[in-house]
């Protein structure tokens, strides 16, 4: 088990380890089955060729899968130490079509020493495609022991 993370050990400016994911149709289909979001904009390549919901003839990754991977940046970092995500707000900026490779990351921006069991940090979160363009940004509050 990795070295235990505590509220005291975390500092503003700490950068969380990044997560990377290549987006294939199979990755999207598996997420559709897991989330029960079978919307054809993600799952039906033939339909996407004509419907072009995002102006693209390709299926796009679920926005909530992007958010899930942004959350994974946090859970990889804090959950082995008993941390808890308590709030997250994400703005999805650009669609992520099949064939993209995205990187997800975060940085600690605030510490809130409220009291034992209630102390939390605030993080800025981001997701970027293979061109380095932001596809999502957000912020989260994470309770740390």
């Amino acid at each position: 088990m990795a070295k235990k993370l505590t509220f005291e050990s975390v500092n503003c400016g700490d950068v969380l380890p990044e997560v990377k994911q290549h987006v294939t149709q199979e990755v999207i289909w598996k997420h559709a089955v897991a989330s029960l979001d079978y919307n054809p904009v993600h799952t039906y390549p033939e339909w996407c060729k004509t419907a072009q919901v995002f102006g693209l003839p390709l299926p796009v990754m679920h926005g909530n899968q992007t958010m899930s991977l942004m959350a994974t940046v946090i859970t990889n970092w804090a959950y082995p130490s008993g941390g808890r995500l308590r709030q997250m707000e994400v703005k999805l900026i650009k669609p992520v079509p099949v064939g993209s490779t995205c990187t997800y990351g975060g940085v600690v921006t605030e510490k809130h020493p409220i009291g034992k069991g209630e102390n939390f940090v605030v993080l800025d979160l981001w997701a970027a495609n293979q061109e380095g363009e932001k596809v999502a940004v957000g912020m989260a509050q994470v309770t740390l022991l």
């Binding site: 088990m1 994911q21 990755v27 289909w29 598996k30 997420h31 559709a32 089955v33 897991a34 989330s35 029960l36 979001d37 079978y38 919307n39 054809p40 904009v41 799952t43 039906y44 390549p45 033939e46 339909w47 004509t50 419907a51 072009q52 919901v53 995002f54 679920h62 926005g63 909530n64 899968q65 958010m67 899930s68 991977l69 959350a71 994974t72 946090i74 859970t75 990889n76 959950y79 082995p80 130490s81 008993g82 808890r84 995500l85 308590r86 709030q87 997250m88 707000e89 994400v90 703005k91 999805l92 999502a136 957000g138 022991l145």
Partner: protein, 192 residues
Amino acid sequence: MGYLEEMAKYQRTEKQKSFSADFLERQQIEDYEFWDEIEIGKETVIPFKFEVKAEDMIAYAEGVPDSSPVFYDDEYAKKCGYDSLVAHPMFATQVLFFVLQKGHGSWIRTPGARNPGQILEWHDPIRVGDVLTVKTKSHDKWVKRGKYYMRYLSEMYDQNGKLKGRCFMTLILPKSKDDVLRFIKGEHALEV
């Protein structure tokens, strides 16, 4: 093989196998809500419940994909300080799509919808054995740069009435039933 058959290969849990996965099925559109008809302030306790099983939580983590053992291994989760297996934070997505298959809130299934981002709060851990009830309220709708936004506030409660989490669910929707019908036929029906 069709796209639904391709995905059926990955269905393992009881809920995945029983779920109505064809969002383009013409009949179900009669149960959908449409942007121009939604009444702000309407609140509903959704009659469908979600009984949480370990297979549901594990399946969600696999579909992220997230391989952290806190989502798969009860003993490991306890060593990390949790009282039992942990649900991935975005597991709420599965819960909401399961209970909102028809009626109030079913607009989340709309063909042609776009996701501009979401706000979630976690108040108490979801645990295996919880029976979740969702209360949903039409919170706001607005037009911005020619796009039609809809926001609902959905709250999840356990079998003891304890608040587990809240989600401000927002989508950009086709404006009307006619526009959704065009999407069902595979036509583009949004603003230029």
